[in-house]
Symmetry: C2
Subunit: 201 residues, 2 copies
């Protein structure tokens, strides 16, 4: 498995001890057999760590959900998202919370006012207000519209996969790799728009 | 200034020593006057650190560009982006680099093939391929389209501001706070789409 994946043996043993990989089939006192499913899981663990920047504990949570057949599919997303957002949300004032609540209502995103992401968003609006950027909140409808387009795309991707295992894994991939891809594309799009409009100085 | 901003005096002194704030007007041996511009800069420094997660060194770079009148406006964006992206891009294989180059060409984003963001994007595509998610790259056109919409919105926001100082600062705000807002909205949009489509399990 180390040879096929390029991951050193001590690292694989560490992942096994931490429960990130299922045990292999024991074939001797110090030997075990690992199949394609193990290799696939190992690659996923590495992507979560290397691209998503998840901690070992956060990877353990994601893997735990993937292995729990009783978890409703869309709950996987919640666990993946929470594992990726490690920071405390910045403090939000009342006016900013109201702006976010109104935004959620305009989009029909019901029951999300207490979601950690909604609180984080209100904290960002508060930070903008403190900087005197009160109009920043007016941007958020356009941001939300773009986000909805991306989420539809993510879900279409997830639904390409027929087996439940594949659906869950593709959801993790779409979230973690999608975040990294979107950050990079946002940079490129900004630079393009900026060069076109402001290039002259 | 400490009273108006809520930032402790020793922290303000530290920012002054690190060159993140311009010196005040000296009014005595141990006294200096700080005006509205100082207060505004202080709030910006805090937002870069608290919301953007920038290091002191990265804030110093951003502030240096804001103070350098010779820098062409759209170069400010490059400095802000580089200060925020501290990680090494993940390694990219040749096929992934070609996919990214083709994507850039389809969008007319010329001369960006060597941009750190383009290299990072190729690394993400490579990671998806290693996981057997070859179709992930096909998502990127939709991601790029959404990113272009957001970038136009950002630029419109920046161009609301008439003074050059304000344009530069609003660019920093749109990039740093915009990133945090977009991450939160993407979470909410995913949860909404997922609950609608997969809620039944």
């Amino acid at each position: 498995m180390s040879r096929k994946s390029g991951v050193p043996v001590p690292t694989i043993k560490y992942y096994l001890r931490e429960g990130l990989l299922p045990s292999g089939e024991r074939t001797g006192r110090n030997q075990a057999d690992y199949g394609d499913e193990h290799l696939r899981r190992l690659k996923l663990v590495r992507a979560l760590i290397d691209i998503g920047g998840l901690s070992i504990a956060a990877v353990g949570e994601v893997v735990g959900v993937l292995e729990n057949a009783d978890v409703v599919t869309h709950q996987v997303l919640g666990v993946v998202q929470r594992s990726m957002g490690t920071d405390e949300p910045p403090p939000a004032d009342r006016a900013s919370q109201d702006e976010v609540t109104a935004l959620l209502a305009r989009r029909g995103w019901d029951g999300m006012a207490d979601d950690p992401a909604a609180l984080a968003l209100a904290g960002v609006v508060t930070a903008a207000r403190k900087l005197g950027h009160h109009r920043f909140a007016a941007q958020l409808d356009a941001y939300a519209e773009a986000s909805a387009g991306i989420a539809r795309q993510d879900l279409d991707y997830v639904l390409l996969h027929a087996r439940v295992d594949d659906v869950l894994e593709s959801m993790v991939v779409a979230t973690v790799l999608g975040d990294a891809a979107l950050a990079a594309l946002r940079r490129l799009a900004q630079r393009d728009a900026s060069a076109r409009l402001l290039g002259g100085g």
